[in-house]
Assembly symmetry: C2
Homo-oligomer: 319 residues x 2
């Protein structure tokens, strides 16, 4: 511990749109940051150049290690990247080794869901917890799992696939090939789809007025505003969304008993009208000895979770 | 490792009906065994006496440690027992410490589902695997989880509650307080209940003749024999049972990507008519990169899993 105390780390969040980097203290504080457009289509070397640039811009002489979170299959042992979603050509890139040679510093890499969950566990919603499930709600439903303060990552697998917990046996087909997956029920467009199905069944709502009748313009944000203004159907959809999430969390709680579940991403901005039914469902239907131990809370680090988590990964691995 | 090689261990399986003990080699071989009726109603001291007897009868001078698997909440760090299902009075018993003082040997204890899964992972269906989910199908649906060859047990929790994975959001109420749990669909009596519901809907079967019309005599064993003789409804029930298990396993696979899933217990004796639909469902609906890695196999250690696992726990902890 002492060797790294007061030393600094660089965290890199390799995203499909932006590469973000930050200079991070060993207590998870951001001391400086940089971001640059990714342009993944330009190929592996061009992206590597951007990563180098992002590290260079925040690095100081006190930096003792570099961590990278990447959106796909990463071997956390070697820091090799095997496959990145929406990054053409990343089929086996020795990312950590390449940066290590370049900067003469230890470099570590892991899946971005894992590093974000690590950040929330150590410095965010879970501060001090031993175990945390992180969930990001958006177009997809992703996340990461931290057990004993370490990212859980079985060999050859990118991260826990929270979005593909089965909620409805034999339910609607999911893009993953499964049936009745959580993501098929609470992913962005499926929240809207469930709303429109009920509109088509004749349920009343003010939401269509709000979008001048253009159904394609309806988003979870619009349904959130409508619910805040008392639209009953929109309220119902959020309650139902919370209950589906609740069932998935009952499964995780009965199975793994995490201390904290931290939920972030755009859809989580709906706030209490989402969190309240989630908590109510879990308190009602998870095994009571387990539901009493778990905190279900909003993620707090937002877009910083990626860089803080990547830096924390480096710190952990250096100890 | 060397210190323990060729040394022997005692494993104790504390069950509600029998206390079983065995002398076990450090490679999981049983060298001697003993069993005695438990009589849990006689109270804590009486059961402790039986445990002492069970250890004494198999112990030799070459024994270097003792392991115990117990059906409830055990702190694997201290070996204290906090609550045992169907054992009156076991509210905080310093089981491992008591036996340690008595025998002058290191003693370790854990939940029985965990030690059985450990036995299958190290010496049984998973031999050589890093991670294994063990499932026992019977009146209840229990089991244990081994990750990185260690039993997974979060603080204050007995073991993973496989039986209370949610399979049907908002489904039938389960004894645990949940809804649509796996156990509520594939526990012994619920397999029979699903069968009778379909009989009541007018589906044809020869099973009622087999029990002379006495519905109370129908068991999963009888439905298994009937299916083997070509009874279509009984076959259907087994297919459906496999599919419900399949959905629960899809969830576990997408979440944790275990290498091996070992299924034992009375209901698993149905064999291929259960395993075949389980595997088919998993291959169809789990994420393909994950379903390709997992083996779904019968547990092989049967009633010996408890004592072998308890001994293995002791061996692991001594290293």
């Amino acid at each position: 511990m002492d060797k790294v105390t007061k030393r600094l780390l660089v965290g890199v969040d390799l995203g499909g749109t932006y590469i973000k980097s930050a200079l991070v203290s060993d207590e998870g504080q951001i001391m400086g940051r940089y971001s640059v457009a990714t342009d993944a289509q330009a190929g592996v070397e061009a992206v590597l150049d951007k990563i180098r640039e992002a590290v260079e811009r925040v690095k100081t002489e006190h930096v003792v290690g570099i961590g990278v979170g990447a959106p796909g299959l990463v071997d956390p042992g070697t820091g090799d990247v095997y496959d990145l979603t929406n990054f053409p050509g990343w089929k086996h890139v020795t990312l950590a080794a390449t940066l290590r040679d370049e900067f003469g510093l230890p470099v570590f890499a892991d899946n971005d869901g894992n590093v974000m969950a690590l950040a929330e566990c150590l410095w965010g919603a879970g501060r001090g917890a031993n175990s945390l499930l992180g969930i990001t709600l958006g177009t997809g439903v992703g996340g990461g799992l931290v057990l004993s303060q370490q990212p859980y990552q079985p060999e050859g697998v990118s991260a826990v696939e929270i979005g593909h917990i089965v909620v409805q046996h034999g339910g609607a087909p999911c893009a993953c090939g499964g049936k009745g997956c959580l993501e098929r029920l609470v992913g962005n467009k499926f929240i809207v789809e469930r709303f429109l199905q009920r509109v088509d069944r004749g349920e009343k709502t003010q939401v269509l007025n709000r979008v001048s009748g253009d159904r394609g313009k309806i988003t979870p944000e619009i349904l959130s505003m409508a619910a805040d203004e008392g639209d009953r159907l929109a309220e119902e959809i959020w309650r139902e969304t919370g209950e589906y999430l609740g069932s998935a969390l009952v499964t995780v709680i009965n199975l793994l008993a995490p201390e904290v579940i931290a939920i972030g991403g755009g859809v989580a901005k709906a706030g209490e009208k989402l969190f309240s039914p989630i908590r109510h469902w879990v308190q009602s239907y998870a095994m009571s000895a387990l539901s009493q131990r778990v905190s279900i809370v909003p993620a707090v680090l937002g877009n910083d979770a990626g860089v803080i988590g990547a830096a924390s990964l480096a710190k952990q691995r250096l100890l």
